[in-house]
């Protein structure tokens, strides 16, 4: 079973991954967006980390809700509302249980992903974060490792896609051949789960 400590470790591992990969995320964003994805997520997760350390929530749902709220209030751009909504909605779905199963987490993530899809209006195949998140949430029923692999494959699969949402969509055909920065950061989010489970 996964308790609040596990979720705090998850958010910690994610913050570290974002800090480690910020340069790469920004490079990917420079190719088809506006070169700030890494910096923006760094700012958001740094703020979230401070908030979690100041007043550590004692349930899994509350960890995700607090992190999501911090992202909405500090990131801006599209990624703030989208990642903020993903985590808040997933946190809400977990309710106030002290411990949840991996299957419950997968179910909650799917609720978060549905909210993101509704907010951003994107479908799988549009070259967005959904292309990493959807296969990952499905594979999470199996294991954390399977989820991480599915997310990474999903992110890599965005390379040949034509962007239909967000700033990359302005490029039309020229968006083809680049990995989507949002799908890449989503793979970090799922990868951090595996780290937290170690």
């Amino acid at each position: 079973m996964l308790d609040a400590d596990f979720f705090l470790r998850w958010m910690n591992a994610l913050t570290e991954a974002v800090n480690r990969e910020a340069g790469r995320l920004t490079e990917l964003d420079a190719a088809i967006g506006d070169a700030d994805h890494g910096t923006n997520l760094q700012r958001g997760f740094t703020a979230a980390k401070a908030a979690l350390e100041k007043d550590a929530p004692d349930t899994p749902g509350a960890v995700l809700m607090l992190t999501g709220r911090q992202l909405i209030s500090t990131v801006g751009g599209a990624s703030g509302p989208l990642y903020g909504t993903l985590l808040r909605r997933a946190g809400k779905a977990l309710g106030d249980e002290a411990e949840v199963s991996r299957e419950q987490l997968a179910e909650a993530l799917r609720a978060g992903i549905a909210a993101v899809a509704q907010l951003g209006g994107a479908k799988p195949g549009d070259k967005t974060m959904l292309d990493a998140l959807e296969p990952a949430a499905a594979a999470l029923d199996e294991s954390f490792t399977a989820a991480r692999e599915a997310a990474e494959e999903g992110a890599a699969a965005t390379v040949p896609m034509l962007a239909r949402k967000g700033r990359a969509s302005y490029l039309g055909e020229r968006s083809i051949g680049h990995q989507d920065p949002g799908a890449t950061s989503s793979a970090l989010l799922i990868g951090a789960l595996e780290e937290a489970a170690r």
Binding site: A30, D36, T39, S73, G80, P81, R164, S169, Y170, G172
Partner: protein, 330 residues
């Protein structure tokens, strides 16, 4: 790339401190990133609030003042502000007459302003919203995020601000803002890529001898790259791209806008070419504004925005305005 900065992390805050120092009549909250008219809330007046990523100065903070914006919310460089900023701005300027949000059509701006509208309404502020989406370089279809908001933002903010200053109620301010946007189109060209403080190197590689057609204002590449063209050729291309989508039956407002690094001498020369091609196409020009107003940091290049004016639009355009970047008639 040499930049006149301290460290990338404080670029926006440093700029706000400088704006406050230059314009004591503005109320600049550096910590919460909100620029408000010093006399807000003005009794009975609709508040006009805009915001967006930084890097487009003087848009939006330079347009706060009498006859234009009531408040502006600057985000990080090229990143939309967060909902808390717009909700705070709305509360600061609302006199009870309501607030209009002027939102450039980008995924991030739309999402954050939507969330801000909910927050403000929860606090009892009546909020209407108008999207600016004038850039003809982006196909407005199901397969893109829709047309970008660029130069027409200046027209919308000036004219909606003037209507609000006259005491028009919220639904009229909203209606005229929408009308100005519907009657405006833009097209932009880059002669160099942009360098953001955070990245420190150009966001795309544009060899000398080439230019990008159909660029946005965030360093995102355009739709097409071509060998360098003359001012005359660029004017033909840009104006025709606009006129393909807007067939004005009345005189236009013209904004010949610099992207940040193109000298005014070149912009005025380009403006001469814009007027020439408009005359050739039989489009009379009612008013012209030339300068760096909706910029993209250090990008060289220009954009053309045309608005099919009518009597009311012209009257409100000519109405007095007193802001850091735009002032006349007062």
């Amino acid at each position: 790339m040499r930049m006149l900065i301290n460290v990338p992390e404080t670029v926006v805050a440093d700029g706000l401190r400088g704006l406050a120092a230059a314009h004591p009549d503005l109320n600049v909250d550096v910590e919460n990133r909100v620029v408000v008219r010093g006399d807000a809330p003005v009794a009975g007046k609709v508040g006009v609030v805009s915001g967006g990523g930084s890097g487009h100065e003087p848009l939006h903070g330079g347009f706060v003042g009498f006859g234009m914006l009531s408040a502006a919310c600057p985000g990080e460089v090229f990143t939309s502000p967060v909902p808390d900023q717009m909700a705070r701005a709305a509360a600061a300027v609302d006199s009870g007459a309501g607030v209009l949000f002027v939102v450039k059509n980008y995924t991030g701006d739309v999402l954050n302003f939507d969330m801000a509208q909910e927050l403000a309404q929860d606090e009892g502020v009546q909020v209407a919203k108008v999207l600016v989406n004038d850039d003809v370089a982006v196909q407005d279809s199901l397969y893109t995020a829709g047309r970008r908001g660029t130069g027409a933002t200046l027209f919308v903010e000036k004219i909606a601000g003037a209507a609000a200053e006259e005491g028009a109620p919220l639904e009229r301010v909203e209606a005229i803002a929408r009308r100005v946007n519907e009657r405006s189109r833009s097209f932009g060209v880059a002669l160099s890529a942009v360098t953001t403080p955070a990245k420190g190197s150009p966001t795309f590689d544009l060899p000398s001898g080439e230019l990008e057609l159909g660029i946005g204002i965030h360093g995102e590449p355009g739709r097409e790259r071509r060998p360098m063209m003359t001012s005359r050729e660029i004017a033909d291309f840009a104006v025709d791209a606009v006129l393909e989508d807007l067939q004005p039956s009345s005189p236009v407002l013209a904004l010949v806008n610099g992207m940040g690094a193109t000298p005014l001498l070149e912009l005025y020369g380009f403006n001469a070419e814009v007027h020439r091609v408009l005359a050739e196409r039989g489009v009379p020009v009612a008013r012209t504004l030339v300068g760096n107003y909706v910029t993209s940091l250090d990008m060289a290049g220009c954009s053309v925005t045309l608005c099919e004016a009518d009597e009311e639009i012209l009257r409100l355009w000519d109405a007095p305005v007193e802001t850091p970047a735009l002032r006349w008639g007062r």
